[in-house]
């Protein structure tokens, strides 16, 4: 269920792994910052302060980007811990408006993309226009 976790503070870093298929034309696609199609339409990230098991690069990810928790919140998105069996640091970012789960908009996805920095960079790939 979407919620905003007050234990995740504004400066907390959120990490998102980038698979090869979400890199097009030498840049990370905004699709990497979009909602999944699960019922709550969450976008998966890891909370850096919980020291995720995931290391980058790995079998699935060529690298990873990071942004602070205040970034999605500035665009009215919710950030909450959502641990799973294989990853205790797993969190989700949700868009929940009028009691309804919605897809993250282009404007919201772009804001996260523009605010991102490399956590582990990928050679010859930009996160956005001028990175």
């Amino acid at each position: 269920m979407p919620y905003d976790d007050t234990e995740i503070v504004a400066e907390d870093e959120l990490i998102r792994g980038i698979p090869a298929s979400q890199i097009k034309n030498g840049r990370v696609s905004s699709g990497a910052f979009k909602s999944s199609s699960d019922p709550y339409r969450g976008m998966s990230v890891d909370l850096a302060s919980l020291e995720p098991e995931q290391v980058y690069p790995n079998e699935k990810h060529l690298g990873a980007v990071k942004f602070v928790a205040s970034c999605p919140r500035e665009k009215n998105l919710l950030v909450g811990k959502d641990p799973i069996a294989t990853n205790h640091a797993h969190c989700n970012i949700w868009r929940h408006e009028d009691g309804e789960a919605k897809s993250i908009s282009t404007s919201q996805a772009r804001h996260m993309q523009k605010s991102s920095e490399w956590h582990v960079s990928i050679e010859n790939v930009r996160i956005h226009g001028d990175s």
């Binding site: 792994g17 698979p19 298929s21 979400q22 097009k24 034309n25 696609s29 905004s30 699709g31 979009k34 909602s35 999944s36 199609s37 699960d38 976008m43 998966s44 995931q54 790995n58 699935k60 990810h61 799973i84 897809s103 908009s105 282009t106 404007s107 772009r110 956005h128 226009g129």
Partner: protein, 176 residues
């Protein structure tokens, strides 16, 4: 086994079950006789439908067949709009887009246009697809939702965005 698909109210050619890249069976999307680039479109979309489970490292299934089929319909219809237009508009045909898998079985269609302009469509199985126009130079974006539930999909606004972006490249070149 043969599957038949209907595109634009006409029966497209048959397709059969084939083996995916990693030996897994998947349904290839329909042949579309209306688009010269259809082989390349189908090749790219078939690859996305044949992604492994957990391709994104967050437990996602591959792109859903229905989403790929709708993406094919949208792109072929849009490219046909350009091909069937007057020559000045024909010349602005943006060509085959990029297809990006999105976690959960969705996909995004992306045209990377001149001068850091992008037209994107998010196809996630909803009746309405989110379409967006992004101008990274001006730091602007617009978003509309397009009704994809019926046999006809109104792509006029999308084509206007592409024409706008492609024309701005022409103007820039002339100015230079």
């Amino acid at each position: 086994m043969t599957n038949k698909f209907i595109l634009q109210g006409q029966e497209a050619s048959d397709s059969i079950l084939t083996m995916g890249e990693r030996g897994r069976e998947y349904r290839p999307i329909a042949q579309n006789p209306f688009c010269g680039d259809s082989d390349e479109l189908r090749r790219q979309l078939n690859l996305l439908c044949a992604l492994d489970n957990d391709w994104d490292g967050y437990g996602s299934p591959p792109v859903k067949f229905e989403n790929a089929e709708l993406a094919l319909r949208i792109v072929t219809n849009l490219l046909a709009l350009f091909e069937n237009s007057r020559p000045p508009i024909q010349a602005l045909n943006p060509g085959v887009p990029y297809f990006v898998p999105v976690s959960g079985g969705a996909l995004q269609i992306e045209w990377h246009l001149p001068n850091s302009k992008f037209v994107e469509l998010f196809v996630d199985g909803s009746d309405r697809c989110l379409a967006s126009f992004v101008d990274e130079v001006l730091d602007e974006d617009r978003e509309i939702s397009i009704d994809c539930s019926g046999p006809q999909i109104d792509l006029n606004e999308l084509s206007k965005w592409i024409v706008e972006a492609m024309r701005s490249e022409g103007q820039r070149t002339v100015a230079a």
